[in-house]
């Protein structure tokens, strides 16, 4: 029995070796299992095929419950490139009814990182979109022959009328920016573009569901994960009821055929927009389906800019439709009383300046001045206010007061309509003129044209119509909006609150009366429809680029207003030429539901009128 204790110590070397290796393994396992999430993700990507279940998008109705926009199923051919094995290209092309070149092009586009930045051979990629029902049926039968292929059901929008495309908007595929900004989206999803489709996207889109399938190393589906208990059913989008009256919208659009401009009709009490017309418009069905991209490009390149919503975005000189605001400011600032007369000698003549006017009695107070749309009256009033140093100190300070009243009436800033892309018009402030003329080097006469809605002042037809609603309500308005109800939700408060301009309500009656007088015996006589008590104000806005714009602002009835309207026809000439008759017809159509025979002649005239000839826009 020999025992070598020197050699026995060597067991420690062997033990140490084992323990060192085991510790290295321990560290490695810690790194793999505890500190690195990427393996978990890889495992999920490996094993789970997450099939998105798309919710049905919310439907859109008009204020009377008529269905406007609904869904139609479409089928996209999806592939997981990694799982696609040998492919019988010819058979596939026959099935899908496309040429091999088109198929090759699709494969190239799919892999092109510029066109498809989210490409990965491990995740579902769209090969072909919007398959027709027959092609879908044929492919469905043969699908087993194409490993890695599956069909994704999608929805497309369908329209019952080709109206109000500017309000409805459309849907498009999300781009890289959308995906970055909102993690709801994945490549290939659709989102609303323009109109309520965009502004109410979060209500309309619903909530996507997901079906988790398991697949093995060969890409074969091995059934649902955990019996489907982790699947999430999609939740349909909310339906939306527009405030638009589609009958009125259709009628108003027909009146604007061959004219460039806008009509905005608002229900004064609620701020709900009854009709929102921009002309020229386009057919919303153009932006559905496979041809969307091509049609969209054509619309963008159209010189008449049909995608430009003139009712919301157009910045027009308000012209004489601006005069009611001036009357209100002068009354509020105690510059005039209802009996203060100003002279008009065929115009405003002061300090070597002359603003022309037309023949009527002189001198005259506010109401007749509104009735006759007297330029001189409002120029005098503006001069008396802006140059009243005793009250305001400087012209600049006085002008700021003037401007702030207008801002409170909704000019110069976005009103906050529930549609994307609203313009803010333009309202200069004192600083603007200080820059242009030098501080202290300008006075009322320098900028006198703003008092009659010319010069620097610009407004959107929506802002002008909103003034009509404010006067109709005798001193308040609600933010104009196109959505009346959202299913299972209430509208946001900012659309329902009353907003009060900084003008005392008591001054509005006089303005309304002046506008009534304009209809009964002034510039708006063509709107004098018995029984409707229309109040109105014409506008003839000078336009440096061509013929004057024809505008009309009105509401009716005088005592219990149901509708306020702004009509703006580019290059239409006098306010009375297009603005008044179109405004009157819209009001009558809404209040009566029909146009009686005695105004059929006016209706026919307006329907057939063509102001585009004078617009200077060349259509190619």
């Amino acid at each position: 029995m020999r025992k070598d204790y020197n050699l026995e110590k060597r067991k420690y070397v062997i033990i140490a070796f084992l323990l060192v290796i085991a510790s290295i393994f321990g560290c490695r396992l810690y790194e793999l299992q505890m500190s690195d999430e990427k393996y978990k993700e890889s495992a999920d990507i490996n094993a789970f095929l997450k099939k998105t279940l798309y919710p049905s998008r919310g439907l859109i109705y008009d204020r009377n419950g008529e269905l406007i926009v609904y869904n139609q199923p479409a089928y996209d051919v999806m592939i997981i490139p990694r799982d696609v094995k040998t492919l019988d290209t010819l058979d596939l092309c026959r099935t899908l009814n496309i040429t091999p070149e088109q198929l090759r092009k699709r494969f190239e586009d799919m892999r092109n990182p510029h066109l498809n930045p989210g490409y990965s051979s491990y995740t579902p990629q769209r090969l072909i979109s919007h398959l027709s029902a027959e092609d879908y049926g044929r492919l469905q039968e043969k699908l087993y022959r194409y490993p890695g292929f599956f069909i994704q059901k999608r929805i497309l929008r369908q329209y019952n009328h080709s109206l109000a495309a500017n309000v409805l908007g459309n849907i498009r595929e999300v781009n890289a920016k959308d995906i970055k900004n909102d993690n709801y989206y994945q490549p290939g999803d659709y989102c609303g573009d323009l109109g309520v489709e965009k502004s109410y996207e979060s209500y309309l889109r619903g909530i996507k569901g997901v079906e988790i399938l398991m697949r093995d190393a060969h890409g074969r589906i091995k059934g649902r994960y955990d019996g489907g208990s982790n699947d999430v059913q999609p939740i349909s989008g909310r339906n939306i009821k527009l405030s638009l009256d589609y009958e009125l919208q259709a009628y108003a659009e027909s009146l604007m055929v061959n004219k460039i401009g806008a009509i905005v009709a608002i229900e004064p009490e609620s701020g709900e927009i009854l009709a929102l017309v921009t002309s020229p418009n386009y057919d919303p069905t153009l932006l559905v389906g496979r041809q969307r991209g091509e049609n969209y490009r054509a619309l963008v390149n159209d010189p008449e800019k049909p995608l430009y919503d003139r009712a919301l975005m157009g910045a027009y000189p308000p012209g004489s439709t601006f005069k009611p605001t001036q009357g209100l400011i002068l009354l509020e600032e105690d510059i005039i009383t209802l009996s203060t007369p100003y002279p008009c000698s065929h115009g405003y003549i002061n300090g070597g300046l002359r603003v022309g006017c037309h023949g009527h009695a002189s001198p005259l107070p506010l109401k007749p001045a509104l009735q006759t749309s007297c330029n001189a009256f409002f120029c005098w009033g503006f001069k008396n206010m802006v140059d009243r140093r005793s009250k305001y100190g400087t012209s600049a300070d006085a002008f700021e007061v003037w401007k702030n009243h207008l801002v409170s009436m909704g000019y110069g800033y976005k009103l906050g309509v529930d549609l994307p892309g609203e313009g803010r018009g333009f309202l200069p402030n004192a600083q603007y003129y200080n820059k242009a003329y030098g501080e202290g080097h300008w006075s009322a006469n320098t900028i006198i044209s703003v008092s009659i809605g010319q010069g620097e002042v610009l407004a959107t037809p929506l802002q002008i119509a909103n003034l009509g609603a404010t006067i109709a309500n005798r001193g308040w308005f609600r933010t104009p909006h196109v959505v009346k109800e959202i299913q299972d939700t209430i509208l946001p408060d900012e659309l329902l609150e009353k907003r009060y301009p900084t003008i005392d309500a008591k001054h509005y009656d006089a303005i309304a009366e002046g506008m009534r007088m304009a209809v009964t015996g002034g510039t708006c006589r063509r709107a004098n429809i018995p029984g409707l008590d229309v109040c109105g104000k014409t506008g003839t806005a000078q336009n440096p680029h061509g013929r004057d714009h024809s505008a009309f602002l009105g509401f009716a009835p005088y005592n219990d207003p149901k509708i306020a309207v702004c009509v703006y026809v580019e290059n239409g000439g006098w306010g009375a030429t297009y603005g008044v008759p179109i405004g009157a017809l819209v009001i009558e159509k809404y209040l009566r539901g029909y146009i009686p025979p005695e105004r059929k002649a006016m209706e026919t005239e307006m329907l057939n009128a063509n102001s585009k000839l004078l617009s200077g826009v060349k259509k190619h």
């Binding site: 490695r28 396992l29 793999l32 299992q33 990427k38």
Partner: protein, 487 residues
Amino acid sequence: MITSRPTPSIFRSLDWFTIVLYLLLIMAGAISIYAASYNFDNASIFDMSAFSGKQIQWIGVSLGVGLLLLVIDARMYETYAYPVYVTMLMLLLVTIFIAPDIKGSRSWIVLGSFSIQPAEFAKFATALALAKMFGAYGFNLNAAAGNYVKALAIIFLPVLFILAQHETGSALVYMSFFFVLYREGMSGLVLLGALFAVVIFVVAVKYSTEVVFGVSQGEFIVYTLILATLLGMVLFYCRNLRMVRNVLIWYMVSMGLMFVLSNFDVVEPGGWFFIGVIGVTCIYLLIEYLQTPMRKLLITVATAILAMTFMFSVNYVFNNVLGAHQQMRIKVTLGLEEDLKGGGYNVNQSKIAIGSGGWSGKGFLNGTQTKLKYVPEQHTDFIFCTIGEEEGFVGTIAVMSAFVLLILRIISLAERQPTTFSRVYAYCVASIFIFHFCINIGMVIGLCPVIGIPLPFFSYGGSSLLGFTMLLFIMLRLDASRFDKNH
């Protein structure tokens, strides 16, 4: 033979600690196989047509055989060590000719409905033969060079036959016997040299692309290592401070000169410079040896020359001796190649499976990677994945701890053996387990190249389970008779 005390009964002297660990491991193994091969539709762990069911049958067989091995008189093992060894060699030889070709390997003998792999049983036979040789009266490994030849012959005969069966993995297991030789007196330098060779190999292959100082990064590191080794060996091994000083001065002068000259573009740095520095150092040491003949000086010089030769042959060996798939496996392990579809696929999927387990795993039978067959060989060589995925970090550490505990227990049993035969045999067992443990788990977690050897008691396979059981139970039987006085 006079017995002063009655020998304690075998059941009293049996090491129950090891047996309990063994039972726990085979049970965990059967459950893991069930989990790894669970297919969503077949349900019972005892389904005899499924892998788990078959494994349970093999567990039964193993327990029977284990019991039988405990009943046999301990002396029989020593007596019949050589005959068993020779029989196994014959079996291995026969296998080469009668085994069908399964994926290029001829190692399975088909016996009706099941097949066995003789290589798995050759391990305990080799261990017995090695122990028998060491147990011979007055045997001392270092007494004669012939003893090394005999020991290596016992180890490498089965290796030759197994290599002929194209079972490289199983053949490599026999390298573990070097631990035993080390324990029984072989110089530690052999193990150190092997470690050094591995380092040179890894470095030379891994860093062969970038150029530093006129040579590839890998060569640069190896040259530096050799220079440091020379200095280190003179300092710690030869313990001669004067020579250390001279070598150090030579290093600094030559390197400073090189640095200055290459800075002024007089000469280009390159491999010749390092070879020159090392060469001059070696010549200097040889001159010192002529004055004071110290064997350690010769060994030092030989080490440096061997290391350089090895380095130059690494690239040749790597590119010309190793097969394409072996090259790829090594490159994947060293992180040189991704190749997730080919050579790197197994290891990548295996890492994903283990990594996705997290702290406590996805739960029994809930592993998606293994269930959905992403990891090939998941019920055999890659069984550790299933544990990692379903039982998480807790599970993998528990299994590893069990193995470490078992091996430590075997080493402690080995050291308490009264006879050299028993001790050497027990060390063989420990070494084989260490090798399987390190290589299998290292491979699954991507730390060493894919070498197809099973994880003892876990990997599916009757031969492997039975082989390890026999290895362990013979040791237990020898241990149980440690109080016998007849030696």
